[in-house]
Symmetry: C2
């Protein structure tokens, strides 16, 4: 398997990304990565890798690109002037079939716009949505989308997101008839913005033909209840909810940790607290780490957090690998082709 | 002190509300509550109170009202036909000065519309905002608003929210120059919806005259970092973030609890786990419980969760009492009168 990785952009520079990429090839013997970025910078970072990771550099190819998309760039700039950036070249590599998927930590707006142009959309989808599965009660997960590919979303696009999310839940989690809801400020049909109410009307109208169970409105807390498989919202609200949840999860883990530390010390603390904290962190890792998929494209693109560490980037690469194994875009397209 | 309480509406019926109200008068000897709702239902609930609470019923007056605002009612319905409901009468009681503050668990849209008409807005404010202080790192708190009084907000209203939030942080938390930011999908100035970008422009333009430090954009995770005192957003995103945070906090407390329970049993578990869990829950209580203020009105109105238990309603009453002690509306109005 060969993936294309844009190592430019991101808040922490390429260092953590290259470490994450090296770990991924060490752990997956069949994996090759093409790193898009400044050869000089990448080579310097590769030389700094600790010994066990350094062994993997033969499967890390470098595609030398000197220009990159700034975090402050707009989508319009990326489309007009971004052709030679590491992000655009990484995406072209995926579009041409030289890599099976792409991963970037860069500017989201630019990534969405360039991915749409380079890879094209699947039939019936007008714009990509960013989605991730959030861990919920009873070991379940809830696909939340859009997480920020679009800052606002007209009703028909929310309907497309519902189709994409449901296809993910069926394809990845084998849920026969996913339960789908629209995020709103209350469960009553009189509430919410015009756009959400119109999307609700469209979904109710076509409920009989939908390849999922449409359950009406959900509120923010329902994400974690384990009773819904997909929650659809505009990218602004989804992004705020995801980042707030990550922030809160991080704060709570710290608080549990310090509550332990103030009560038990040394060995006793290790014996009592460590296994519980490890367990808690593992359960929260999907919220904190696993990157997010750009859905609706004719190809696989994973967006990793801008501020990610090596571990987070490693998970984003793993996610791209899983989507390749799943032949995700082709299968998603088939799932919604029967509809409409 | 005399408060007006609307005990109709809410997902659980008046039972929990009346228990919460009774606890509040037991704990606060100078407090009197006027309960707006069906005399028959309220009397039946009062008779069912356990003995220590039953003693307080002499300070629980009943204002018999048979009609109430349904959770499915629209703001327009409430304004046209809701004059005789328990919610409207409770608000009128506050407007006429017969009570110093009002509390309701009812329909948010109706409460906002009726409160605006019955109490009127403070000078310079066009619409109420719902706000609460969210516990953050380093013992700090962050005022988040709007939490759902409005489903979308034009730029000038986001600026008003910034003024209201900053006035709260100064008045309640004694922060000399509150740090205020706008919620957005990224920190870069090129990002976000038109409305947020225009509000950012307005705030930057008048930065020198603002009674707070405007710091630009914040992301969802910043709510919990303890580096901002106020985060402003439209009511849709704020509502989603608040409810998602409550849901996640609840799920995490459960997970820590069950991780303990699976590792330690009986007395050992009580000794190790209970103090830590108690501490954690106390820290999260403000997120889960304390109700939210309707800011910008010429009077004090607290909105408690629709699905609240007795304890949550008790906290909402306490919040209203604190705002009375603080003479909140008058002082807030003075704080922003100097501006603009």
């Amino acid at each position: 398997m060969r993936l294309a990785i844009d190592v430019m952009g991101g808040d922490k520079g390429p260092c953590a990304l290259i470490e994450g990429a090296a770990r991924a090839v060490v752990d997956h013997p069949g994996l090759e990565l093409v790193l898009f970025g400044s050869r000089q910078q990448i080579t310097a970072e590769l030389l700094r890798l600790p010994r066990p990771l350094a062994a993997a550099t033969s499967r890390l190819a470098i595609h030398d690109v000197t220009s990159s998309v700034a975090m402050t760039a707009t989508a319009a700039w990326a489309l007009r002037r971004g052709q030679s950036t590491s992000m655009a070249q990484m995406l072209r590599c995926v579009a041409q079939g030289d890599a099976q998927a792409g991963v970037s930590v860069g500017n989201t707006a630019a990534l969405v716009a360039l991915a749409r142009r380079e890879l094209g959309m699947l039939d019936g989808m007008s714009r990509p949505a960013i989605s991730t599965a959030i861990p919920a009660r009873r070991g379940r997960r809830c696909y939340l989308l859009d997480l920020g590919a679009n800052v606002d979303s007209p009703p028909h696009r929310l309907v497309e997101f519902a189709l994409m999310g449901a296809a993910m839940a069926r394809q990845v989690d084998q849920i026969e008839r996913p339960r789908v809801a629209l995020l709103n400020v209350g469960a009553e049909s009189t509430k919410g913005s015009l756009s959400v109410r119109e999307a609700d009307r469209l979904l109710r109208e076509s409920a009989a033909r939908l390849p999922f169970a449409y359950l009406g409105y959900a509120e923010g807390g329902d994400i974690f209840q384990g009773e819904l498989d997909v929650i659809v919202c505009d990218g602004f609200a989804g992004n705020a909810v995801l980042k707030a949840s990550e922030g809160l999860a991080g704060m709570l883990v710290e608080r549990v940790q310090s509550a332990f530390a103030s009560r038990f010390r040394g060995r006793l603390a290790s014996w009592i607290a460590r296994p519980i904290l490890t367990h808690l962190k593992q359960e929260l890792d999907p919220v904190r780490y696993n990157g997010a998929s750009l859905l609706g494209l004719q190809g696989i693109v994973v967006k990793s957090h801008g501020g990610t560490q090596a571990e987070g980037f490693y998970y984003a690469i793993r996610r791209a690998m899983q989507e390749v194994d799943n032949s995700l875009p082709e299968r998603l397209a088939k799932r919604w082709a029967c509809y409409g």
